[in-house]
C-alpha cells in the first residue's frame, strides 16, 4: 500500500498524515452506514454499540498503560464514578444525556487526578499495586454509599428521555471516533514522544527537559475522563447500573485485557482487543461462565510469553512476511517516529475503524 497523497496535500497539522485522515473518514462513514446497509439483527447491532464503547475505554486505558507504561488495575473506579454521576444527573436533572456523560467523565477524571497525582510517582508494579488498592477502596465506598449509588440494589435510569438502545450504536461510534482522534494526536504529536521517553526512563527524560509529573497527570486525567464518559454511556445503554458491577475488579481487568490482548501502546490494538473481549464475553462466557478466569489467564500468559505486542504484534509479523518493515521505534509500542517524521504517511491495516502506527511504513 503506497500512497502518493503528498503531492496534492493540503496543510495538515504536523501530527496528522493525509493517509491516516482518509482512512479514518472512510472507516467512520462505512461504520455509520453499516447498520442501514447490512441490516444487522438487533442483538448484533446493540453489541456493536457496546463494542465501540469498550474500544474507547480500552484506548483510554492504553494512554496510561501503553503510552506512559503505567499499568492501572483500578480503572473501574473511574468507570463507576462516571457512570453513577451521569446516572444521578439523569435522574435528578433535565440535562441532556450527553451532558451527563461529559460531566460524569470530568468528575471521574478529577477523581483519577486526586489519587493519581501522588501514586504516579511510583512506577511499574508499585504503581499497579497502588491502583488495585484504589480500585478496591472505591468499590467498597461505592457499595456502602447507598444514597449515591443505591447500594446493592443499584440505580434504574428513567426511560424515555435518553437515546434508545438502537441509537446507542451511533453514539458509541462518535465516542470511539473522538477517542481515536485523541489517541492518534497523543501518539503522533510531540507529547507522544515525551510520553515514550517517560516510559523508557523517567529520570533521563527529566534530564532532557520532560516534566514527568505533569505529563503523567495530564494523561491520567484524560484517561480517567474518557473511561468515565464510557461509564455514563454504559449506564444509558443498560438503563440500570449497580456498583458491584461498575466498580468491580473484573471491570478493571477487562480494560487491561483489552489493551494487552490487542497490543499495548498501539491504536488498532485495543480496538481489536475489544472485539476479542466482547466475543469471549458474549458468546463464550454467556454459556460457560465458569471459564472466566481460566480463559483470560491463559490468554494473558499466551500474549505475554509469545507476543508482547498482542494482536498488533501478530499483524506486524504478518506484515514483515510480506516485506513491510515497521519503523525502528515500533517496539516501544507500535509507534513510528511520531513527531519525528510528520510527513511520513501512517500505515494502516486495511479495514477497521481505527488507524494504526504499528503497521508498515
Amino acid at each position: 500500500m503506497t500512497t502518493t497523497a503528498q503531492s496534492r496535500r493540503v496543510r495538515l497539522p504536523g501530527w496528522l498524515s493525509m493517509r491516516a485522515l482518509i482512512i479514518f473518514v472512510v472507516a467512520l462513514v462505512l461504520l455509520y452506514l453499516a447498520p442501514t446497509v447490512l441490516g444487522l439483527g438487533d442483538y448484533l447491532h446493540n453489541i456493536a454499540g457496546l463494542t465501540f464503547m469498550f474500544m474507547a475505554a480500552g484506548l483510554a486505558w492504553n494512554w496510561l498503560g501503553g503510552y506512559v507504561g503505567q499499568i492501572s488495575f483500578g480503572h473501574a473506579a473511574m468507570f463507576g464514578t462516571g457512570g453513577f454521576v451521569a446516572a444521578r444527573l439523569t435522574i435528578s436533572s433535565g440535562l441532556p444525556f450527553w451532558a451527563t456523560w461529559l460531566i460524569g467523565g470530568v468528575v471521574a477524571g478529577l477523581y483519577a487526578l486526586l489519587w493519581g497525582h501522588p501514586t504516579l510517582r511510583l512506577r511499574g508494579p508499585y504503581f499497579s499495586i497502588a491502583t488495585i488498592g484504589v480500585g478496591e477502596a472505591t468499590r467498597l465506598v461505592a457499595t456502602y454509599w447507598t444514597d449515591f449509588t443505591g447500594g446493592s440494589s443499584g440505580l434504574s435510569l428513567p426511560i424515555g428521555n435518553g437515546p434508545t438502545k438502537f441509537q446507542m450504536y451511533w453514539y458509541g461510534l462518535y465516542l470511539l471516533a473522538a477517542v481515536v482522534v485523541i489517541s492518534y494526536w497523543l501518539r503522533r504529536s510531540r507529547i507522544g514522544l515525551g510520553l515514550l521517553a517517560i516510559k523508557e526512563d523517567v529520570e533521563a527524560a527529566s534530564d532532557v527537559g520532560v516534566n514527568p509529573t505533569f505529563y503523567q497527570d495530564v494523561v491520567l486525567f484524560l484517561s480517567g475522563t474518557v473511561v468515565g464518559v464510557c461509564g455514563g454511556f454504559y449506564a444509558s445503554y443498560q438503563a440500570f447500573i449497580d456498583p458491584l458491577d461498575m466498580f468491580s475488579f473484573e471491570r478493571s481487568i477487562s480494560f487491561v485485557l483489552i489493551g494487552v490482548i490487542g497490543g499495548i501502546g498501539t491504536i488498532l490494538g485495543p480496538a481489536m482487543g475489544a472485539v476479542v473481549y466482547i466475543v469471549i464475553q458474549e458468546f463464550l462466557l454467556a454459556s460457560y461462565p465458569q471459564l472466566y478466569l481460566g480463559l483470560y489467564g491463559l490468554l494473558l500468559i499466551f500474549v505475554i510469553l509469545f507476543e508482547p505486542l498482542g494482536l498488533s504484534g501478530l499483524l506486524m509479523r504478518v506484515g514483515r512476511r510480506f516485506g513491510i518493515r515497521p519503523s525502528p521505534s515500533a517496539a516501544a509500542g507500535g509507534m513510528s517516529s511520531a513527531a519525528a517524521v510528520p510527513d511520513q504517511p501512517t500505515a494502516s491495516v486495511g479495514a477497521g475503524s481505527t488507524d494504526t502506527k504499528d503497521g508498515p511504513r
Binding site: L193, G194, L196, V210, N211, S329, A332
Partner: protein, 274 residues
Amino acid sequence: MSALLVGESVCKYFGGLRAVDDVSFTLGEGEILGLIGPNGAGKTTLFSVAAGSVPATRGRVLLDGKQVSGKSGHRSVHQGICRTHQIVRPFARLSVLDNVLVGHHYGRPGPGHGRPVDHAMGILDFIGLADRAHQLPGELTLAGRKRLEVARALATGPRVLLLDEVVAGLTPVEAQRFVELIRQIRDRGTSIVMIEHVMHAVMGVSDRVMVLDHGRQIAEGTPEQVVKHPQVIEAYLGRDDDEPNDHDEPTHGDGPMGAGDPASGQHAKEKPDA
C-alpha cells in the same frame, strides 16, 4: 570575568556520607572546566546537584544569576543547563533520531524550533551519527551511544553542558575524536564542565581544572598548576586508593595522571549497558 555558572558552597550529604562537601566553583562563558578526582570523590553527585536532579544539602548553584539547583531536572534544562550520564541512558526503544528529538522538543526553546527534524539531523550530523538516525541505540557501539547521549543533551540547547565521563571507555582513536568534538561544541558557544578520568583528554582540552577528593575541592587552576599540586599528587598516588593510574610517575611532562588508560578498572562498569 563573566561567570556563567557559579557554585556557592555546595554540600550534598547522603546520611553521614559527605559526597560533596562545601565546594565552590565558577565557569566562565565559553570555558571548559575539567573536573577530576578519584572514584567516589563526588564528581557525579556535584553534577546531579547542578543539573537539579538532586537537591543540595546546603549551598546552591546559579546559572546567570538564577538558581538551578534544588529544582527538578527538567526546569534546570529549561534554564539552560543539561547533563549527560556516566552510564549512558538512551531511550532504548526510540530511534536515534527520536532520542534527539525528545531533547529538541522539551529543551530550551531556541533557534531551529520551526523545523524539528532538520534541527535534530543537524545535531546528529555534527556529532557524527547522521547515518545512524533510524537505528536503535542498542545497535550503536559504546562510542556511538556516548555520542548519542551528548547529541540528545545538545538538542536541548544548553548554555552549560555537563559531560560525565564521555571519553572513558573509548579506544584511543575514538577518544581523540571525542575530545575534538568537545572543543567544537565549546566553539559553537556552549560552556562545558567535563568529568573525566582519561587524563590526557581532560588536561588537553580544559581551560581550568578542579580536583575533588572525598567530596572536598583540593585544587583548582590551569592543567599545569593542578598536576603539580602536592595534594593532587597525594590524592592520586599517595594513598592506597582504587585509582588505577598510579603507575605513572609525576615527573612526566603530562603530570601524575599522564597516561589515562581508558580500558582500565573503573571504566569496566561502563561496558554492559545497565
